[in-house]
């Protein structure tokens, strides 16, 4: 058994097999930049009649002269410093244009001669998707600006004009006209709030929220105290130290507490917030004793602009839970409504491991 294993390791045909089957374009160049070995992926870049003239040649004449300057620069850098890498857009000898992520590493053979091992991964699709994503993010930023500025400006103007009519001609206006002007003001304020929340929705997660360690009970109490709603709920919260992105958690906690207050149907009640910590996540329960959410709407309430009452009865943009869901998606967490006999119980799950892929 041992004997066989040793034989196997020493077998050149295996390393040749691996080299030849690497999906990347793999090649080895000598110090004169001549290709001395190339795998099948690399050879397939060349038209079939040129494939005989790869090994032993620089093949530089097969490429665009400007691109060649870059190859040579990187080859020399690898020979001098031991390593070079770059992202390059190459016109292949067969005419195709591809984006490659190329790494070049210097090595010496047993006789001390210097070579470069080159590995090029084709990242054309990836780079294309990144560019596409960047374009749509830019479009989103532009949209956010339009929503905040261009759409709000005429609304403010309407509001001002109605105020001026009231200031200048208030005494002369019949009661019916005044009532309708009040309704205009109310709708302007609502539209303004819708635009504001839409803007928040589009921008949420664009700013990085720092992970901090803090006392969750105190944090919750502070948020509760800052919400300007007349109703008072008895707030109970687990005292526990948590380590989470604080600003993002605040968006969630504020929205859930203010929902519990806003939608409560009695003069007093309670809001219990329980936090359970396990090895891989935090589980937070927000339990109120309000009117509850009927089972059939428990998915729908997380949609954008979704409200369960006419906005004339209950002012609100219907964006709160949509914003929460978007924030949690970003951090790999989740929010659900669980069955309870009384009121509403939200469960927020927040993984401890940062699942955000952050290239920086």
């Amino acid at each position: 058994m041992d004997e066989k294993a040793e034989q196997f390791v020493g077998d050149d045909s295996l390393s040749d097999l691996i080299f030849d089957n690497i999906p990347d374009y793999a090649f080895i160049k000598d110090d004169k930049l001549r290709i001395v070995k190339a795998n099948s992926a690399f050879r397939s870049m060349y038209p079939s009649e040129a494939r005989e003239k790869i090994i032993g040649f620089t093949t530089l004449e097969s490429y665009n002269p400007e691109e060649v300057q870059e190859f040579i620069k990187d080859d020399k850098k690898a020979l001098e410093l031991g390593y070079a890498e770059c992202l390059e857009t190459i016109t292949f000898p067969d005419g195709g244009v591809r984006t490659l992520y190329t790494r070049k590493k210097r090595f010496f053979n047993s006789k001390g001669a210097v070579f470069i091992l080159g590995l090029s991964s084709d990242v054309t699709e990836r780079e294309h998707l990144v560019a596409q994503l960047k374009r749509s993010n830019d479009a989103l930023d532009e949209f956010a600006y339009i929503a905040s500025h261009d759409l709000k400006a005429p609304l403010n103007a309407i509001s001002k004009l109605v105020t001026w009519i009231d200031e200048d001609f208030g005494d002369e206006l019949p009661e019916g006209a005044k009532e309708n002007f009040d309704l205009i003001q109310q709708r302007v304020a609502r539209m303004s709030k819708l635009l504001h929340d839409l803007l928040i929705y589009s921008r949420v997660n664009r700013k990085h929220s720092e992970i901090e360690t803090f006392e969750f009970g105190e944090f919750t109490k502070e948020i509760y105290d800052s919400i300007d709603i007349e109703l008072v709920l008895k707030l109970e919260c687990t005292p526990i130290k948590v380590t989470l992105p604080k600003t993002a958690l605040e968006v969630i906690t504020r929205n859930l507490i203010s929902n519990a207050l806003k939608h409560h149907d009695r003069k007093s009640g309670s809001l219990i917030i329980q936090v359970k910590e396990s090895s891989n996540e935090y589980e937070m329960h927000f339990i109120d004793d309000g009117p509850g959410i009927p089972t059939e709407y428990r998915q729908k309430v997380f949609e954008m602009f979704q409200t369960l009452k006419p906005r004339d009865q209950q002012e609100g943009s219907g964006m709160g839970l949509a914003i929460i869901k978007k924030v949690l998606n970003h951090y790999g967490g989740s929010i659900n409504i669980v069955d309870s006999n009384i009121g509403t119980e939200f469960v927020v799950r927040w993984p401890k491991v940062d699942t955000i892929v952050n290239p920086n």
């Binding site: 500025h149 403010n156 103007a157 001002k160 001026w164 303004s192």
Partner: protein
């Protein structure tokens, strides 16, 4: 110098925003002459053509067609005759870059057009106090 000698050049593309400024001044019974330019291009024309009685200050909006406020500031500061003009920015833009750039171009103050009308009144009161006591160089 009489305080009501100071002219206010309002560079503002939006009619209602201009009306807001006018109403706020008349609410405080401020009678200073007021001239309006609808964008940076018209404002520069008025200033270079000496159509605005000296002394004057400028209330400048940023987002305007043809020439916005920032470009106007750049042109104003590059003009040897006009570079010392007192300019207050009055805009809806909360953009940090806009604020930085404006002060780099030596504006006397950057103010936001808030939805609430009392913030506009505070600005008017500030200006009212300002030109009661300010001294301008003679030209």
């Amino acid at each position: 110098m009489q305080d009501n000698d100071i002219t206010v050049l309002v560079v503002e593309d939006d009619d209602i925003d201009y009306m807001t400024v006018k109403r706020s001044f008349s609410k405080r019974k401020i009678m200073n002459p007021m001239v309006r330019a609808i964008d940076g291009v018209e404002a520069l024309e008025l200033l270079k053509g000496k159509k605005i009685g000296y002394p004057y200050i400028i209330l400048l909006d940023l987002k305007m067609p043809r020439m916005g406020g920032l470009e106007f500031l750049e042109k104003l500061r590059a003009d040897s005759e006009l570079k010392d003009t007192v300019v207050f920015v009055l805009t809806t833009s909360k953009d940090e870059d806009d604020i930085h750039y404006s002060y780099e171009k030596n504006v006397a103050g950057y103010f936001l057009k808030e939805e609430a009308s009392d913030s506009m009144m505070s600005l008017v009161d500030m200006l009212d106090g300002y030109w009661r006591i300010v001294q301008f160089p003679t030209k």
